[in-house]
C-alpha cells in the first residue's frame, strides 16, 4: 500500500476545514431565533412589548394602488411601478392626537388623511379637506408626503412628492387645505421619491429639499423613448436633479440648489436632515439607488458633498432609506441606509453608519457587527424605542415584488444589470416579468437593541408577521399611551397599523415642541435627555426613512424606575433650553423661549 505523507493528510484536513468554515460561520454567527409569534403575553414577558395589527378594527381599510405607466414599459411594469406607497404622521388639526396621511399611486386614485378619533379609530377626511383627489390624469401620481409649517401659522402644511407635478397645500387651520403650488413657485414636473423640510439657513422659516429620481423631463405616461433606465446599476448619474427651495417668507420659494452647492443627478430614493457635523446647521444625507450615498455638510447655508471624506460615499449600493438614531446613547446620530440582500445573488448589506470618536466627522459601517445588516430587499426603516427600555430599536420593512412565489426574476435581473449602459439603459432590452417575483414575500425585521452593542430580530415573536411588499414606515404614539406604534405602507398592499403594547414597568417621556424664533414646527430641534447616567439624543424631523415622516412629537423610553436629570433642547435658532424636574410617563409641551 502506498504511503501517504503526514503533511498530505494534514493538508487534506486543512482543506476540508476551510470548506466547512462557511457552515460554521453561519451557525456560530446566527443569533438565537426568537421563533414564531407565541402570543402577546409571551412577547410582553420576554421582550417587554407586543404588536397587534389593528388597521381594520381602527377603521383603516386602505389598499395601495400602483401606477400604470406608458404601455412601452408593460414588460417590466412591476419593477418601474414599484414605489408610491407612503405614510406620514401629522397632527393637522392640532388636537393633540397624531393623524395619518397615506398616498395612493394609480391615476384617479385618492390619497387618504385618517383623522384620529381619540378612541382607537380613524376617519378619512382627505376628501372634505381637499387633499384626496391629487392623482388626476396629466398631473402624475403621489410618491410620498412631508409636513411642515412653512408659514409659521401653527398648522402643518403638506408637500406632496410626486412623479408628476409637485404640490404644496396650505393648511387652513385644520379645516381645509388650499393648493398653493403655483404661488410658491414650484416647478411644473419632478419625478421624485424623497423630500425633507428643514431650515438650512436658520432664518426661522422652513425650507424644502426635493430629490429627483427619474429625470424631470420624463413623463412616465407618455414616453418618447424607452431609454429611461439608469445608465449603470452602481454608478448612475443620469437621474433626476435636486431642488433646494429656500423659503422667502411670503408664500414663495426660490430654488437655490446650485447657489447652495447641491448638484447631483444620482437616483435619490431617501433623504433626511440633521446637524451631524455639530455646526448648528442641518446637514443633508441622501441615500441613492444605483450608487453611493451623499452627505452634504452645511457650512452656514452653503453645502459641500462629503460622502467620501466621511466614509459614507464610497461603496455604491442601492440606498432606499435614511434615518437617524442615537443607538449607543452617546449623544450622536448614527445613520441607517437600507440596500438589497438576496442570498446567493446579491449581498449588498444594509449600512449602519456609526460616527467615530474624534473631532473629524467620520463614519464606520457597523451594520454587520451590530446585527442589522441583512434585511432582504430592504426599504423603509425607523429607529424607535419600542419597549421603552431606554435603547433605540430598529424597524425595517422589505420585499420588492411579490407575484408568483415559484418563479423568480432574479436571473434575468442579474443578466442585464451587469451589462453595458447602452443595453441596460433601454427598458426594451429588459426581459418581461411575466408574473415572476423579485425578492417577494419577505419577513420584516424588528431589531431589538440590547444596549450592549447587539440587535436581535424579534419581529415574528412580537407580532410583526406580514409579508407584504413594504415601502414606508412611520412611528407615532397613536393612542397617546406612551408606546410607539408602527405604521407601514405597502406597495399594492394594505396600510398596516401595528398597535404597540408595552410592559408597564418600563417608563417613558414625550416632548411636543413649538418654535418661536425657530420654525414653528420646531423641525431640526434636538433634545438631549439625561437620565440614570445615560444620554440620548433625538430630533424633530421633517421627513426620514423612505417616503415617510414620524410624528413630530419626540418619544423616549426610560427603562424601569428612571431618575430623569434634565432635558436640553437645542433649538434651530441656536437657543439652548434646559428642562429640569421632569417626571416620567408624561407628554411635555415646550415652547421656545423668545
Amino acid at each position: 500500500m502506498k504511503k501517504i505523507p503526514i503533511a498530505r493528510i494534514l493538508l487534506t484536513l486543512f482543506f476540508a476545514a476551510l470548506l466547512a468554515t462557511p457552515w460554521m460561520v453561519r451557525h456560530l454567527s446566527s443569533p438565537a431565533k426568537p421563533g414564531t409569534n407565541a402570543g402577546a403575553q409571551a412577547a410582553l414577558d420576554r421582550y417587554g412589548f407586543s404588536l397587534q395589527e389593528v388597521s381594520h378594527a381602527a377603521g383603516v381599510d386602505f389598499v395601495h394602488q400602483a401606477p400604470t405607466l406608458d404601455t412601452k414599459l408593460d414588460g417590466i411594469m412591476p419593477e418601474i411601478a414599484s414605489m408610491g406607497a407612503s405614510v406620514s404622521i401629522v397632527d393637522y388639526d392640532r388636537d393633540g392626537w397624531p393623524d395619518i396621511y397615506v398616498t395612493n399611486s394609480a391615476i384617479g386614485s385618492k390619497n387618504h388623511l385618517y383623522h384620529n378619533n381619540h378612541d382607537g379609530t380613524f376617519t378619512d377626511v382627505a376628501d372634505e379637506l381637499g387633499i384626496a383627489d391629487v392623482n388626476q390624469p396629466g398631473t402624475g401620481v403621489s410618491m410620498g408626503a412631508v409636513w411642515g409649517d412653512y408659514d409659521n401659522d401653527g398648522y402643518e402644511d403638506l408637500f406632496l412628492i410626486k412623479w408628476g407635478k409637485p404640490e404644496l397645500f396650505h393648511n387652513d387651520q385644520g379645516k381645509h387645505f388650499t393648493r398653493v403650488s403655483d404661488q410658491a413657485g414650484l416647478p411644473p414636473w419632478i419625478n421624485a421619491n424623497a423630500a425633507v423640510w428643514f431650515d438650512f439657513d436658520r432664518d426661522g422659516k422652513l425650507d424644502l429639499f426635493v430629490a429627483g429620481y427619474y429625470p424631470e423631463d420624463l413623463d412616465l405616461w407618455h414616453l418618447r423613448s424607452t431609454r429611461m433606465m439608469p445608465d449603470s446599476f452602481e454608478y448612475a448619474k443620469n437621474g433626476g436633479r435636486k431642488y433646494l427651495f429656500r423659503n422667502l417668507g411670503n408664500g414663495r420659494f426660490e430654488e437655490v440648489s446650485a447657489k447652495a452647492g447641491i448638484d447631483s443627478r444620482r437616483w435619490a430614493l431617501a433623504c433626511a436632515a440633521a446637524d451631524l457635523s455639530g455646526t448648528g446647521y442641518p446637514d443633508l444625507f441622501i441615500a441613492n439607488d444605483y450608487g453611493v450615498s451623499e452627505l452634504y455638510i452645511n457650512d452656514h447655508g452653503h453645502f459641500h458633498e462629503a460622502g467620501k471624506e466621511t466614509g459614507v460615499g464610497f461603496a455604491p449600493k442601492s440606498g432606499m432609506n435614511a434615518s437617524f438614531g442615537d443607538i449607543f446613547n452617546q449623544g450622536r446620530f448614527s445613520i441607517y441606509v437600507s440596500n438589497i440582500s438576496e442570498e446567493g445573488v446579491l449581498i449588498q448589506g444594509n449600512n449602519l453608519w456609526v460616527p467615530q470618536a474624534g473631532t473629524v466627522l467620520k463614519y464606520e459601517n457597523m451594520a454587520r457587527e451590530l446585527g442589522v445588516e441583512l434585511g432582504g430587499w430592504s426599504f423603509g426603516a425607523q429607529f424607535g424605542d419600542f419597549n421603552n427600555d431606554g435603547n433605540l430599536d430598529l424597524y425595517l420593512t422589505n420585499g420588492y415584488i411579490s407575484l408568483d412565489r415559484q418563479r423568480s426574476y432574479w436571473y434575468d435581473f442579474a443578466k442585464v444589470a451587469g451589462g453595458n449602459s447602452s443595453i441596460i439603459g433601454d427598458a426594451q432590452n429588459w426581459p418581461a416579468f411575466n408574473g415572476r417575483s423579485l425578492s417577494g414575500y419577505q419577513q420584516k425585521r424588528l431589531w431589538l437593541n440590547d444596549g450592549e452593542g447587539k440587535f436581535v430580530d424579534v419581529a415574528q415573536a412580537v407580532g410583526a408577521t406580514d409579508i407584504y411588499d413594504g415601502r414606508s414606515v412611520a412611528l407615532a404614539d397613536l393612542w397617546n399611551s406612551g408606546a410607539l406604534d408602527i405604521i407601514v405602507a405597502n406597495q399594492r398592499g394594505p396600510l398596516l397599523i401595528y398597535k404597540n403594547t408595552v410592559a408597564p414597568d418600563n417608563r417613558w417621556i414625550e416632548f411636543s415642541l413649538e418654535g418661536t424664533k425657530s420654525n414653528r414646527s420646531a423641525i431640526g430641534a434636538e433634545i438631549a435627555l439625561y437620565w440614570d447616567g445615560k444620554e440620548q439624543l433625538q430630533q424633530v424631523s421633517g421627513g426620514s426613512g423612505f417616503a415617510s415622516q414620524n410624528d413630530r412629537r419626540v418619544h423616549f423610553g426610560l427603562g424601569k424606575n428612571p431618575r430623569i436629570e434634565k432635558a436640553v433642547i437645542h433649538w434651530p435658532s441656536g437657543t439652548i433650553q434646559t428642562l429640569d424636574s421632569l417626571s416620567p410617563d408624561r407628554l411635555y409641551t415646550v415652547k421656545e423661549p423668545r
Partner: protein
C-alpha cells in the same frame, strides 16, 4: 493524488514551475512574469479610482495577503522552495475584484481555499482547477448567505470596457492565447442569439453579460490559465467551445453564475481527458521502445 514536488515533474507531461500555476498565469509562462500582475493591478486601480469598484482596499488587500501567505507556506512545505508570488497575487486580486461581501472573512477564506485547492486537489501531480475559479465557486455554493460574485460594476460604460478589452487582448495575444478568448466570445455571442430565440427575450439581454465586468476577468484571466488548460491550440479552442456550450445550458436553467460554474466542470474534465490521452500515448511509446529494444537485441 500524489506528492507534487519531484514526483510531479516525473509524472506530469508538463514541466512549468509549480509556483506559477494560479489563475491567470498564462502570461507568466510565456512573457515577463510581472506583466500579468501589473496588468491586473492597473485594471484594479483604474476601476477603483474612476468608479470605486472595490468593496474596500482593505478587503482586497486581505485577499491578496492571504493568497500570497498560503502560497508561500504550502510551496515551502510541498515544493520545498519559495514560490514566485505573482501567481498568488493574481489569485488574490481576482478574489478581491470578483467576490462581493460586506464581511471581511469571505475574502480571506476564498483566497485560502483557492490556493489550498492547488495543493490538495491534484491528479498525477497537476492541479486541475483554476484556483480562483474553484475558490469563488466554492464560496458561492457554500457561503451563499454571505457572498455574491461581481455582477454590477465598472460603470457599465464603453470607455472602461474598451480599455480593458484592448489591454487584455494584447496580453493574451502576447501569451499566444488570444484564440481561446476569441473562440469563447464568438461562441457566447452565437449562443446568445440562439438563447434569445428559445426563451423569447431580447437578444440584447442575452448579449448583456459579456459586456459586463465579470466576463473581462473571466475571458482574460480564467479560461486562459495554462496550468488548467490543455496544451494543443485546437484542444484549447474545443475547451473554450465546451465552456460556452455548458454555460448556454446553465443559462437556460437561469443559473446566475453560469460561466464560473461551466469552467468549474469543463476545465478539470478537459485536463483529465488530456492526461488520459497522454498516458495512453506514453504507454504506446513505451511499448514501441521496448519492442524496438527487443528487436535490436534480437
Amino acid at each position: 493524488m500524489s506528492r507534487p514536488a519531484t514526483q510531479a515533474n516525473q509524472t506530469s507531461p508538463r514541466t512549468a514551475p509549480e509556483s506559477r500555476s494560479a489563475g491567470g498565469t498564462a502570461l507568466a509562462d510565456r512573457i515577463n512574469p510581472f506583466l500579468p500582475p501589473i496588468f491586473i493591478t492597473l485594471i484594479l486601480l483604474v476601476g477603483n479610482l474612476s468608479f470605486g469598484i472595490l468593496e474596500s482596499y482593505s478587503k482586497t488587500l486581505l485577499a491578496i495577503a492571504t493568497a500570497i501567505a498560503a502560497e508561500m507556506v504550502m510551496g515551502r512545505i510541498f515544493l520545498r522552495k519559495w514560490p514566485h508570488p505573482a501567481s498568488a497575487y493574481i489569485t488574490g486580486i481576482s478574489v478581491g475584484i470578483l467576490l462581493r461581501s460586506p464581511a471581511y472573512w469571505p475574502y480571506g477564506l476564498c483566497s485560502a481555499i483557492s490556493i489550498t485547492s492547488k495543493y490538495a486537489l491534484r491528479f498525477r501531480g497537476r492541479h486541475i482547477w483554476n484556483p480562483s475559479n474553484f475558490g469563488i465557486c466554492a464560496m458561492l455554493v457554500l457561503a451563499s448567505q454571505a457572498v455574491a460574485s461581481l455582477s454590477i460594476q465598472w460603470g457599465n460604460n464603453f470607455a472602461s470596457l474598451i480599455v480593458i478589452w484592448v489591454l487584455g487582448a494584447v496580453i493574451v495575444w502576447r501569451a499566444r492565447r488570444l484564440h481561446i478568448t476569441l473562440t469563447y466570445v464568438t461562441c457566447f455571442i452565437a449562443l446568445s442569439f440562439l438563447r434569445a430565440q428559445i426563451v423569447g427575450d431580447p437578444w440584447q439581454a442575452e448579449i448583456s453579460p459579456i459586456t459586463g465586468p465579470m466576463y473581462q476577468l473571466f475571458i482574460f484571466f480564467m479560461i486562459t490559465d495554462p496550468k488548467t488548460t490543455v496544451r494543443s491550440r485546437i484542444g484549447q479552442s474545443v475547451v473554450a467551445v465546451a465552456i460556452a456550450v455548458l454555460e448556454f445550458f446553465f443559462r437556460l436553467n437561469s443559473c446566475i453564475y453560469a460561466p464560473l460554474y461551466a469552467l468549474f466542470w469543463v476545465g478539470p474534465a478537459a485536463l483529465l481527458i488530456e492526461m488520459a490521452i497522454d498516458s495512453r500515448r506514453k504507454r504506446l511509446v513505451d511499448a514501441d521502445t521496448v519492442f524496438e529494444q527487443r528487436a535490436a537485441r534480437a
